[in-house]
Symmetry: C2
Subunit: 693 residues, 2 copies
């Protein structure tokens, strides 16, 4: 069976190439669309420059961090360089760097296409929904295809060259450490600008969301790109690589059993990418069609194609198992179910959003209390879903042996993430049409165009719920399989040291329990630091906006010119200042717990981190989405509509929810993954040097 591996490497590269070529075709298609309105072109350029400036400064900072991390890896991982094999250390460091570079590249290209698409989407919206949708969606798809293509080709290349799954973890750590900072930095930037623009514009001056008189309006649009496009691209690149890497680490322990586990991982991943290519090519919306339905149905189409293709592969390759196919199908379907639950809690046609809007009529405290409560309630179905899919996929594969059972969980994560190309396309569509809406307003394209842009924007918000469910669920499953990877790595290290092996992580072991409680506190600390970052930074930007309105003559009346750059500068500086400590503290705590209390404590630490991390990520994403949509629901006329007390309360809810759902919530995913990877990479060191065990 193992003789098929070279074939799957070749097929992986081929599929990645198809994805790249298709992305190139879409890119050229988007580029061919013309921009005629000079004002739109000018503003779009401002946004592009702002985003480029931020990325350049962010990447410069992160390059220093990545350099230091690469050096540490070179010296210590997988073994201290003076004890182990120097080639492995060099390879690990190089793989780490490759991971960071590919992750940065994904963000960079995403921004390039997004800032190209936003103006074109706004122009096209003048001629109707159909074309504008296509520009937005295809712009997003370029990113989706590139990210998944890079992760598939990257993982295949690293494994083919090194033949060592441990080194793959270094590649994955490169991807996720960069994603952690990129998401945190982008998230702080975007919400600093968004919150400040809303508070000064909507609340204080009563002007529209994208009014060009507001000095923060360009920063807000830049934020959509650096937060939602670049940050999210890096995030899903990282999740995808981590899911494959952890599956491959476990698969490599199964090699001797004659089970074609490694081949299977590549096969499922490449078929997922192929399914996404077909799904993306098929996405369309009619002249008066519903963009939300178009986006969701292409997700369902992709899911169906993936299930059929993998079933076919299982039938063809006799070494492939139907149990694994069922596990991966379980993961994928549970992912959809989680998405739909999220949708129930955050969609403004469903009861919960209406209840929160109604509570707002009694004042902002009730907006906060009811939104917080429903956010907490929304966690149970998703967490139970993740738990059930782990349990089912384990039980499905248990007859194949204990190690295979954990491989089943890993494949459920791979299954859940298989259609990630489609997910990213849908996700990146959001900020593009959001920007397009802003450009349509700033370029004065008229009511009808604005209505179409609004409809496209609203579809982006709704679909986000489903895609977020996927990415949180996938992070949960991936980290369970990373726990398996951590144990495999630790035992390999313990064996070489001649120490007794770990048989598991028993909660009754006080070291495990110690790790668990500390691990559970970390996501809370991490998200609090990010929220405080936004909080502090937004206070600075609000003062700057006040200063501009006070000192620039004619600004309020529309005759003066605001200084957009100073706002972009504040958002940039603040984000760069605040992103490092939060990310670093999670890495340092992991190392501290490991060196003090040993590998077993780390097992507890990882699980505590997952459980409270999932809880907080779901809570923050869902209550944030809930508040956002109940504000929109009130603005559409409910509970007194715009200007009512209920509206004021709903705006406060939305402002609280902004950093929840776009800064802290989605960064927790990455935080969980980073912690797991740090643990796996440092497992050898913990085994050798921890104080108390």
């Amino acid at each position: 069976m193992s003789s098929f591996l070279p074939m799957f490497y070749a097929l992986s590269f081929l599929t990645a190439l198809i994805a790249f070529l298709f992305a190139l075709y879409l890119y050229l298609w988007v580029k061919r669309q013309k921009v005629e309105n000079k004002e739109i072109e000018r503003i779009s350029l401002l946004i592009k420059q702002g985003a480029d400036t931020f990325l350049r400064r962010e990447y410069k900072l992160l390059a220093v961090f990545a350099g230091i991390a690469a050096l540490v890896i070179l010296l210590f991982f997988p073994q201290p360089v003076w004890q182990g094999d120097i080639i492995s250390n060099v390879m690990s460091a190089l793989s780490y760097i490759a991971g960071t570079v590919l992750s940065a590249l994904a963000g960079k290209i995403g921004i390039l296409v997004a800032t190209l698409s936003n103006s074109r989407c706004a122009e096209r919206a003048q001629k109707g929904l159909k074309d504008a949708f296509l520009v937005g969606f295809r712009g997003g798809s370029v990113m989706g295809l590139l990210v998944v293509g890079c992760s598939l080709a990257g993982v295949a290349a690293v494994l083919m060259i090194t033949g060592d799954t441990t080194i793959l973890l270094a590649f994955s750590f490169g991807a996720s450490s960069l994603a952690l900072f990129a998401k945190a930095g982008g998230g702080i930037f975007t919400k600093t600008a968004d919150v400040s623009a809303d508070l000064t514009g909507k609340v204080e001056l009563g002007i529209a969301e994208d009014d060009p008189r507001n000095p923060a309006v360009i920063a807000d649009n830049v934020g959509d790109n650096v937060g939602d496009v670049a940050g999210m691209g890096a995030d899903l690149f990282d999740s995808n690589v981590a899911a494959m890497a952890s599956a491959l680490v476990i698969a490599s322990t199964l090699e001797s059993s004659g089970f074609a586990a490694i081949e299977m991982v590549f096969c499922y991943a490449l078929l997922g990418l192929l399914a996404s290519v077909i799904g993306i090519a098929a996405a369309r919306v009619g002249k008066d069609g519903n963009p939300t339905k178009a986006l969701n149905s292409s997700t369902y189409v992709t899911t169906a194609i993936f299930l059929v293709l993998t079933a076919g592969a299982t039938a063809v390759f006799t070494g492939f198992s139907w149990r694994i196919w069922l596990s991966s199908a379980t993961g994928l379907i549970v992912g959809l179910v989680i998405g739909l639950t999220t949708d129930y809690f955050t969609d403004d046609t469903k009861p919960i959003v209406k209840k929160v809007a109604h509570a707002s009529a009694s004042g902002p405290a009730f907006t906060i209390l009811s939104g917080t409560s429903y956010g907490f309630i929304s966690c149970l179905p998703a967490m139970a879903g993740i738990a059930v899919s782990a349990l089912i996929s384990y039980q499905l594969c248990a007859p194949l042996g204990d190690e295979c059972a954990i491989f089943g969980i890993a494949m459920a994560a791979v299954g859940m993430l298989s259609i990630v190309g489609m997910i990213i396309s849908n996700d990146a569509y959001g900020p593009i049409v959001d920007n397009a809406r802003g450009l349509a307003e700033m370029g004065s394209l008229g009511e009808e165009t604005l209505r179409i842009a609004d409809e496209l924007d609203s579809a982006g918000n709704t679909v986000k719920a489903v895609t977020k469910g996927f990415s949180i669920g996938a992070a949960g499953l991936t980290v369970i399989s990373l726990l398996g990877a951590f144990m495999a790595e630790t035992n390999a290290a313990l064996e070489s040291l001649g120490k007794p092996l770990i048989t598991g992580f028993d909660i009754m072991n006080p070291a495990v329990f110690f790790g668990l409680l500390v691990g559970a506190a970390i996501p809370a600390l991490f998200s609090a630091m990010l929220i405080l970052g936004v909080d502090k930074n937004a206070q600075r930007m609000v003062s700057e906006i006040h200063r501009q309105f006070d000192t620039i003559p004619g600004l309020k009346e529309g005759s003066g010119q605001p200084d957009y750059d100073s706002c972009i500068d504040i958002a940039t500086k603040g984000a760069l200042k605040e992103l490092i400590p939060a990310g670093l503290i999670t890495i340092v705590t992991t190392l501290l717990v490991g060196f003090i209390a040993g590998p077993e404590a780390i097992g507890g630490f990882l699980v505590g981190n997952i459980s409270s991390g999932l809880l907080l990520a779901l809570f923050m994403s869902n209550s944030g989405g809930l508040w956002d949509n109940s504000k929109k629901y009130v603005e559409a006329g409910a509970e007194g509509g715009k200007g009512s007390e209920a509206h004021k309360a709903a705006v406060i809810g939305d402002t609280v929810g902004d950093p929840y759902k776009d800064t802290a919530g989605p960064s927790i995913n990455t935080q969980i993954t980073v912690v797991s990877l740090v643990a796996s990479l440092a497992s050898g060191l913990f085994a050798a040097f921890s104080i108390f065990v």
Copy 2:
């Protein structure tokens, strides 16, 4: 060594008797203080009647619940009655009932003394701080002494009569199931009234907190009694019984080792009560003294006395171990440290409260965001503290054997709770002086008296932080030892069924992991349901208050008479309606997980429940306290003082924090304990009947 057991039973009863007699003396002392002001007497009577009515209706409802639960216990616990020993089932059911009755009694007597003390404290405040403090503190102490005396005597009696620690768990379950509903019900009542009174009085009408024109003002004062006095008394009774019960279950497995574990539990518990008696007797404040210092220093005195007394006992009884003494000292000291950390985050002389007050100047969204963030950050030191004390006490006792090591953790919990008599006295002092402040205002006792009452009240709020740290920390440690108890019970059941025993709860086991994720979601669901209960109920009461101001002539001007009873009635009905579902769902989920996925999944469930429960309990208590005190800080003149935008924002923060800190947060403790006890009681059934294991 075992021959000493009868002596310790006798000593336990004797100590309880001393506590009862001292409580009687204090009760008579308080009663001797005269009430001369007719208006105060009248309002105090209204409060007493409202509290009595609520308690009567609540207990009637809970009697039905307890009856059903007792029947279920009779039929199924510890074994189905047709399989096991009928005497055990009868004893379990009776012990369960005894637990509920004693818990209800603790609440009832607490209310009796508190409603007696509040008016006397207000009167005494006219003559200065010294006497008023003593009335408030001694009133609270009656409750503290009775609760601890009842739990010590109750546990000793049940064990002496039945000789079976499993039946002790039924007694403990009786105490905590009643506490769960009493806390939830009282918490919903008190915050419904508090939030409604604040929103209509302070925010809408701009009248003072305890203005008698507000129809909700009596309900608010009743709430302090039923929520903070009765609810908290039931809670700490339950924690204390659970800590002793779990320690005794583990101790009973150590009997054969010749280790006087059972004697030790009683010895430590009775010395703790004795230390509290001395500490209470010594508490005083000078004429111009600081009541906060007086309360805190009596806590420290009690701690020191307890440490000396137990050291003495360890020296005298050669079977007692210094390792156990150190474990219990660790627990006690960590409890103090947790309390001090909480104090750092919630005291308005420390930086955090000031930062949140400053953020309020930028608007309510920043109040919420910063308070939430600091609340999340505050969890890490406390959780790490609990984790470290568990680890240290385990390691200290590990040389005595594995079982002894878990006993070490149990004794850390007993140590932490040893001074619970003092803790309750401090805690019950709070609502008494809070009520006294209201009475002083409503009885028009003048500025100087109000100033003194304010000072007493503020001390109550500050000290609450320390006592809450204790009770949350103790719940954490107790539940760890309950996990040990659960494993011991399960293995006894498995052995009798001839099934293989459980050796631990390995996280890599997907059943454990499944339980863990579901367990982690429960505290979020539970607290959300309680908060929504307050939310809905307060909306009803606000409408009623509006109705009264609209329809009762002269009410606003002070010539009309508000209908206090209708507000009390709304709070009562709402609380009774909302308290059952939240409590029931936690019990039902525990049983569901156990019957579906077996005892190992329950182990995971308990740990997930503890970790996220501690996180949310700490977060909610601390951010609630933080918001309360930053509002007070702004009211004292900071950031523009009363009436400023910062003040409005701070009031919104306080309103959000109210149900966090007084309804959901402190109920989570009890929820955790109940879940653990249900699990231990049903362990035999899970072992026999679960579907998948």
